[in-house]
């Protein structure tokens, strides 16, 4: 039996994730400077990559911040290219790692994919900002500060929340189980 999402379902789940890229930051608005600290837009992109694969993760990573910038003005256009590059790498890396890593247990797969995607995203977006988007104005200290010091609550939130959300989605049968339990009767 094939345990995969259909293309139509992947497309619609990606659309829901893109919508969440706009709705979720609005839910965090009660907290000052929440965007930089809790990184709410990264959560749907990573989940989309993990659940739907790298192609849809890439689309969500690019379309999420762009649509949010156009519809809500956040992130501001000056920050947008760097952020879109970061989220695009998140989506691609999460999907690719989830396809590659198979430890036969859901949570190790999720954590390996998630941590690799986050680190890759931070490194590549830092390089893109330093070399392309803010060439000459972006330092190593600024990268460490923005990616890890200011955003540590957001990183913790991602590591705690994303595996829990994916597990909850599997449990509620909204996505197929990665390692379906074999029924004892037919073994």
């Amino acid at each position: 039996m094939k345990h995969q999402l259909s293309e139509v379902k992947c497309a619609v789940l990606t659309a829901a994730s893109i919508a969440l890229c706009i709705v979720l930051p609005m839910a965090f608005h009660a907290i000052p400077n929440a965007g930089n600290i809790f990184l709410p837009m990264h959560i749907p992109v990573l989940i989309c990559g993990l659940v739907c694969g790298w192609r849809y993760g890439l689309l969500c990573g690019i379309a999420g911040p762009v649509l949010s910038a156009v519809l809500t003005g956040m992130p501001p256009a000056a920050v947008l290219p760097g952020m879109a590059a970061e989220t695009a790498v998140f989506g691609v890396a999460a999907g690719f790692m989830m396809k590659t890593v198979h430890t036969k247990r859901l949570f190790p797969d999720l954590y390996i994919s998630l941590i690799t995607a986050i680190l890759l995203g931070k490194v590549i977006s830092g390089a893109a900002k330093a070399l392309i988007f803010s060439a000459g104005q972006y330092s190593m200290a600024a990268w460490v500060s923005a990616s890890f010091i200011t955003a540590w609550p957001g990183l913790l939130l991602q590591l705690a929340l994303i595996p829990a959300v994916v597990a909850a989605l599997e449990k509620s049968k909204l996505i197929p189980a990665r390692y379906p339990k074999k029924s004892g009767r037919f073994q």
């Binding site: 839910a27 809790f38 989940i47």
Partner: protein
Amino acid sequence: MGQYMPGNSVFHKMRGTTKLICFFWILTAVLLTDSAAGFFLLFLTAGASIALAGIGLRNMGKTIARLKVFFSVIFLMNLFFFSPEQAWWSCWIFHISPAGFEQGAGVVMRVVFLLVFSRILIATTTPVELTGALEILLLPLGVFGISTGELAMILSVAVQFIPILSKEADQIRKAQIARGAKFESGHLRDRAKSVLPVVIPVFLAAFRRADELALAMEARGYRKTKAQRKQCKFRVHVRDVQAVVLSCAVCITQILL
């Protein structure tokens, strides 16, 4: 969130595709601006656009005022940390210099102008019109084998999901307030903790709706095909041409200044 404001202005009558092309030209112009004359040109363009769109200065002021904390942080960071050379005042790692002042003011002004132009685009274009415009502008990607029909479908469904999920998130938030969650008071950690119980239900609700929609689409025979492109009517009015030429002229002038 920026909302569509019904109206009868020149901008409202313009095609979504034209407005999006103009927006990209202006976006490039704003990012290229680094002189006082350039900022003055942007000021004139923004003023004329606000007047033509009929949005109102108060409305625009509210949009900008919402981000006052962000603007202050960006300005102060640049002012204190940008450059220690020829500093007006120095203390430990903090240096207030003319270059820092110039950099901070420049960044804030660029963001304000981008906010103003994106607000004009959103206030005068319906979400459906915007998606249609994106679909038309994405058509060339078909050459590389990318399914623009699927891409446009995803973007269109995403735009239609936003108000539904927003309402759902609000309902979940109110339910959590009823259970004692404190979103607008208390320590940062408490407020972050109160947001957490909202996130998982919002995801489950969003994916449940997506699941139902996907099921309905599959049941009605929706399949990914190349021939899912809707017919585009390329009727171009004089005002569309004028708008593209003007925005292009602003961009070229910025490069020359």
